[in-house]
């Protein structure tokens, strides 16, 4: 376990990022910070996926001027790219909703701006 630690640093970082994101989502009442929490959660998942795709000594699967060496199957990279696109759309939508909530209620606090409960 310990001797592999340098190689596993990205996984540790991904888990730490996820912890940070969940901490923000749970304890931060500011709506903009909630959006940031989701973005960080998304980044942590992206980091996790990209790390999965790393193969020591592999080269990127681009044949244009390719160096010698085994090529990696870029499935996780494709997943990451898709997730980035989706995260952009999600953040844009949430931010526009946050702006509208602010217009209506005049606050960015998730407790004060809430109108429905029970």
């Amino acid at each position: 376990m310990m001797e592999n630690l340098p190689g596993n640093f990205p996984f540790v970082a991904a888990v730490l990022l996820m912890g940070v994101a969940l901490y923000i989502l749970i304890f931060r009442r500011n709506l903009i910070k909630i959006v940031m929490g989701i973005a960080i959660l998304s980044s942590s998942v992206n980091l996790f996926l990209v790390t999965l795709g790393y193969r020591a000594g592999g080269v990127a699967p681009i044949y244009t001027e390719a160096p010698e060496g085994p090529m990696v199957l870029p499935v996780v990279q494709a997943l990451t790219l898709t997730n980035i696109v989706i995260a952009v759309a999600t953040s844009a939508l949430i931010l526009s909703l946050v702006i509208r909530i602010y217009r209506h209620t005049g606050t960015l606090d998730s407790e004060k701006s809430r109108r429905m409960k029970g």
């Binding site: 989701i38 959660l41 499935v75 996780v76 999600t90 909530i101 109108r115």
Partner: protein
């Protein structure tokens, strides 16, 4: 025709998406042409779904490989893992497809008059078609990552549609809550997919199921997947977003949101039964799902009783009805490893739960549409301000009552047919669950009697003297649902043997699903 059926599984997903991108272009030229396009595309999709359903029930699993030289070529080179995007439609997928097709058509018909006079209708129909395409994608895909993508498409377009009425602060809040909850849930789903891919180097559900070892990482992935899908379908204690969003969305969208939740339930069953299947520690996972189900039933219905907002009341009732399905599926899952119990009552419990899915979408849809018709005419959802509406809105009242009776499980409507299946089979597993279920059903009736009497009966109030009956298109949409409800109620055996039993059989046996992808390799 044979070619059309061969390609129908992708056409069912692609035609709504194509129509969605055409809608803004055509809508600039003519509103009428746009409405015709929306209706025609959804009707054509519904026809394709029925044609495909017949084919799937008769000829078995339908596989479609995107971009390959032929649709059935799932594993290029023979024997290696599938790499292309594969759609796989078996009996349970097509069952969900039928539900979505019926409900989306009704929702679109209802929107025609409900959205009249609102601004940004082009965007509304674009998002609606995107959402329909997304839900179809969720239930037809044979690939975990595509499941995630379609889940996100559904939730993003759904959130934009919930917040469609920009002038209402509640709608904005509902949309915000929906998208936050969905984003967290689907990102966790992606994390779980990453865990699975890391071990088995595949994203295809069939290939993963064939290689499944049920290691520690698989368990973590299973827990994440179950919690995330349970959150998306509104299982207690993760149901609180559901009442906030269902009650504020335009009602035609709420009806689609119900099917989106059903699609999440489909994903949950697909995960438990097909992806993990026999490797699963079925009793423990089954009891987790049963626990969520029982909590949903009880807390959902008791919260529904005290609501005074009519759509919020129905939304809590949705939570309660999902509980019934979860209990049925959980009992089926708990006895999955035990062939005798499975044959004796497990398969019946699963059939009841699956039958309840389509019934749930139909009668809750009817209730929401009727509540939406009231809102359209009198401009409030508060039961404390309603009264005596039955004098002027006779059809709406009758249709609401019909939906309420079906939801409470009163014979001879369809809700009774599916609930009795769940009661009888679950009783053999654990009688206490059935007793709770019957109690919950009784309170459900009380819930709807409160709503019905507060809204429709009593002397006609002076402020609603001039209220007119709901527009004809709305009545037509509700009547379609009501006719299907009565038909399902009067001929439950037909539906059960026709589409529900094959779906239940497809769930409990994962090998045909795997073999359709991996070929003859066991």
């Amino acid at each position: 025709m044979a070619t059309l059926i061969e390609h129908s599984s992708i056409l069912i997903i692609a035609i709504p998406l194509l129509a969605a991108f055409l809608t803004p272009l055509i809508g600039m030229a003519s509103k009428k042409a746009r409405n015709v396009l929306v209706m025609a595309s959804l009707a054509f999709v519904a026809l394709l779904v029925f044609a495909l359903a017949r084919d799937v029930i008769l000829n078995g699993i339908h596989v479609y490989t995107l971009g390959a030289a032929s649709p059935g070529l799932t594993t290029p080179g023979g024997g290696v893992a599938p790499v292309r995007i594969i759609l796989e439609v078996d009996a349970i997928s097509i069952f969900m497809g039928i539900t979505v097709a019926l409900v989306s058509l009704v929702a679109a018909i209802y929107s025609l008059s409900a959205m009249k006079g609102e601004t940004g209708q082009n965007r509304f129909y674009t998002l609606l078609l995107l959402m329909v395409g997304g839900i179809f994608g969720m239930v037809f895909t044979g690939d975990l990552f595509n499941l995630f993508v379609f889940l996100e498409i559904t939730s993003i377009s759904g959130a934009a549609l919930i917040a469609f009425r920009t002038r209402s602060a509640d709608s904005q809040e509902g949309g915000f809550k929906y998208i936050v909850v969905s984003a967290v849930a689907s990102l966790m789903v992606l994390f779980a997919i990453g865990l699975l891919y890391a071990q088995y180097n595949s994203l295809n559900i069939g290939a993963l199921a064939a290689a499944m070892q049920y290691t520690m990482l698989d368990k973590i992935a299973l827990v994440i997947l179950i919690s995330a899908f349970a959150m998306k379908l509104g299982g207690v204690p993760m149901h609180m977003w559901l009442s906030d969003t269902y009650s504020v969305a335009p009602v035609s969208i709420t009806v689609l949101l119900i099917t989106a939740s059903q699609a999440s339930m489909y994903a949950l069953t697909r995960t438990c039964f097909t992806l993990y299947g026999v490797t699963l520690d079925s009793a423990a996972v089954g009891w987790i799902i049963i626990a969520i189900g029982i909590l949903s039933m009880f807390i959902g219905v008791t919260m529904a009783v005290r609501q005074t907002d009519i759509t919020r009341l129905i939304a809590y009732n949705c939570v309660c009805e999902s509980g019934f399905m979860l209990v049925g599926l959980g009992v089926g899952l708990a006895v999955l490893a035990n062939p005798e119990a499975l044959a004796a009552y497990g398969i019946t419990a699963i059939s009841g739960a699956i039958f309840h899915m389509i019934n749930h979408a139909l009668f809750e849809g009817l209730l929401f549409l009727a509540a939406g018709a009231i809102f359209y005419r009198i401009g409030t959802r508060d039961l404390n301000q309603m009264g005596g509406l039955g004098h002027t809105m006779k059809f709406t009242a009758i249709l609401f009552l019909l939906g309420a009776l079906a939801s409470s499980g009163i014979p001879p409507f369809n809700g009774f047919a599916s609930k009795i299946l769940i009661y009888q089979s679950v009783y053999q597993f654990n009688p206490i669950l059935t007793i709770i279920g019957i109690l919950v059903s009784i309170i459900t009736l009380a819930v709807f009697m409160k709503a019905f009497f507060a809204a429709f009966t009593g002397a006609s109030l002076p402020q609603y003297k001039g209220t007119k009956e709901a527009p004809k298109t709305m009545i037509a949409a509700m009547t379609i649902l009501a006719v299907i409800i009565i038909f399902f109620g009067l001929f439950p055996g037909l539906i059960l043997d026709g589409i529900v039993r094959p779906a239940a059989d497809a769930l409990v046996d994962q090998s045909p699903y795997i073999n359709a992808i991996m070929g003859a390799i066991p």
